[in-house]
Amino acid sequence: MHKSKKQSTHLPLFILVGVVLFILSNFIEELRVSQGTTIAVYVIAISSIILLTGYSGQVSLGHGALMAIGAYAAAVLRLEFNLPIILCFVAAVLAAAIGGLLLGMAAARLSGPYLAGTTLALAIGLPSLANQFPILGGEQGREFKVGPPDFEPEVVAAAEPLTFFGNVLSILDKLQTTLATGAWPGASPMSTYKWWFWIAALAALISMWTVRNILNSAYGRSWRAGRGNEVAAQLAGINTARSKVLAFTISAGIAGLAGALLAMSIGTVSPSAFPLALSFSLLTGAVLAGITTLGGVIIGSVILVAIPEIADVVAHRLGSSESVTTNLPGLIVSGLLILTVLFVPNGPVEQHRARKAKHEAAHSSTKK
């Protein structure tokens, strides 16, 4: 039997990206930093969809509801028991994973449109439960405040502005100062937005790294096998029902983390933060990313965040009325969704790869 060589986990790459993001966050304006937080939240949520839909072949329109479970778990624990933030996030993952386990057990008996419809019913039904339990705070929801730790950053005003071409030694030097004092010389002052971005970006990196390595493990392969041909996978000794439930549980846990982060960036948890439209845009992001391309989640997330801005510019350029302006983003997202499914059904990255492979195959055959 072919023994696969041990695959690299790419840990250094993820750490490098983290350091770059950290440095960047100190030099861009607050609006972009807060958009960065949203992108990070989307990255996490969309990667949970890719794991579930792209690899295990199950469609969920209910990930908005799973995000809500995570967000409520984090907020309630924070308010009622004053748990440390990090434990709140862990609890968010666990709570949503339990929800996903239950849903996954039902889902393993369903497929395709049945599963989509069932999770759709959940997405519409679950947020309304907030009104049933006083601890969840009804329509107003509960607050979820995550502020930066109480230190007064000593901003060194005299430090020269940093250029990206500045030499490595000075950067390392400054990094050391930063680690010691929590402030980068010459950087923008510490703010809540920056703190949120750091948390969200760190969470995104950790979950991307985890998802990537799960997908490349035996689990990932068994999911793909089950998606491709369920009977063949069963003959190969894979318990497809159990592997589907596992995929649902992991995916839900990741979605729960995204939900808690989303709540953090809004400051409150309420039913209106998790509308059906959220579940839809996650699916859109996953399809734009290429439903089986984990790396594409960054493209998908950036597009989702950029579309409202682009739509704004377009609407102003055309001088259109207010109702057009407010609905243009929705139209573009949905339109893109249809166009992508019709013309690049497996995502732009995958499409490019397939075309390249085809081209190379044609090339090598003509050589012979």
Binding site: G57, A106, G117, L283, T326, L331, S334
Partner: protein, 301 residues
């Protein structure tokens, strides 16, 4: 009396769900797609109906206008979107989810365009007759002439539909293409045209469901009204309860769902309005996965 009230409200709501479920079943039988844009189509048709009411002043003209508008739109969707979809996205990992994603995208497009044209505010369609309850022996029922009308119109449409399916050549072609498209094609049935017709019928059924859901509520509607999300979910659940393949099943599923929800709201808690359909669906899927009138093939689509 309360029991009777609950039952009658349930039957009225259920008959509207039945119509929506029929729309799902017609589309499923003709193209093996669950059309999540059905609610969007119903919404668009309701706006057609609103335009007709405000221009021509009569609900009775608006109803057929909405039905015809809905049918034409649904037929166009099948002709353009669905055929492209079959051509482009029928292989690879996306194949299983492509129709779901495409119809969801269509739902979003319809909703945005409708909001751009008519605005996001509440519009109002006035019911043709009173929604004040009948009075029997001095007690006022919740059941009203309007609800009776909804029930009667839905029943008439269902009878017309069943005559179409059971007694006409067209109905035979519709059934043949659903059950064995290849054999139907060989016997000279124009399967593609029949598919489009299936979508058109579904569009008309959805239009009636949208209009009645609106007037059966408070008469107000907007692109964001939760009524249409509810119509989508309830119609889908009703269709699944009925087995997704059977028109009779869709009707029974709709009535079952409507009555169950009505009883849950009355006797358990009125706050369970949105979660009740989900729970009922789960129970049905676990207890009787093939649906009330389903073939024993399980839920593998």
């Amino acid at each position: 009396m309360q029991l009777l009230n609950t039952l009658l409200i349930g039957i009225t709501a259920g008959s509207i769900y039945s119509l929506m479920a029929i729309a799902f079943v017609l589309v499923w039988r003709s193209t093996r797609v669950v059309n999540f844009a059905q609610a969007g189509m119903a919404l668009l048709s309701t706006y057609f109906g609103y335009e007709a009411v405000s221009r021509l002043g009569s609900f009775w003209i608006a109803l057929p206008v909405a039905m015809i508008g809905g049918a034409i739109f649904a037929a166009l969707v099948e002709l353009i979107l669905m055929r492209l979809l079959v051509k482009h996205a029928s292989s690879g990992p996306i194949a299983g989810v492509a129709p779901i994603i495409a119809t969801l995208g269509l739902l979003g497009v319809i909703k945005s365009v409708v909001t751009m044209i008519w605005g996001g505010q509440d519009l109002r369609i006035v019911a043709p007759i009173s929604n004040n309850g009948f009075t029997i022996n001095g007690e006022t029922l919740v059941f009203s002439p309007l609800k009776l009308l909804v029930l009667v119109v839905v029943m008439v449409l269902l009878i017309m539909l069943s005559i179409l399916f059971q007694k006409t050549n067209l109905g035979l072609a519709l059934r043949a293409s659903a059950h064995a498209p290849e054999i139907a094609r060989l016997s000279g049935v124009r399967v593609d045209a029949v598919r489009t017709l299936g979508w058109a019928l579904a569009g008309a059924a959805g239009a009636v469901a949208g209009l009645f859901q609106t007037v059966n509520g408070n008469g107000n509607f907007s692109p964001d009204s939760i009524e249409f999300s509810l119509l989508l979910v309830s119609g889908f659940i009703a269709a699944v309860i009925g087995g997704l393949d059977s028109l009779l099943g869709a009707v029974l599923g709709g009535l079952f769902l409507g009555i169950s929800i009505s009883f849950v709201l009355m006797y358990v808690s009125s706050g369970l309005f949105f979660i009740a359909p989900f729970v009922i669906l789960l129970i049905v899927l676990f207890v009787r996965p093939q649906g009330i009138i389903g073939v024993k093939a399980g839920r593998r689509a």
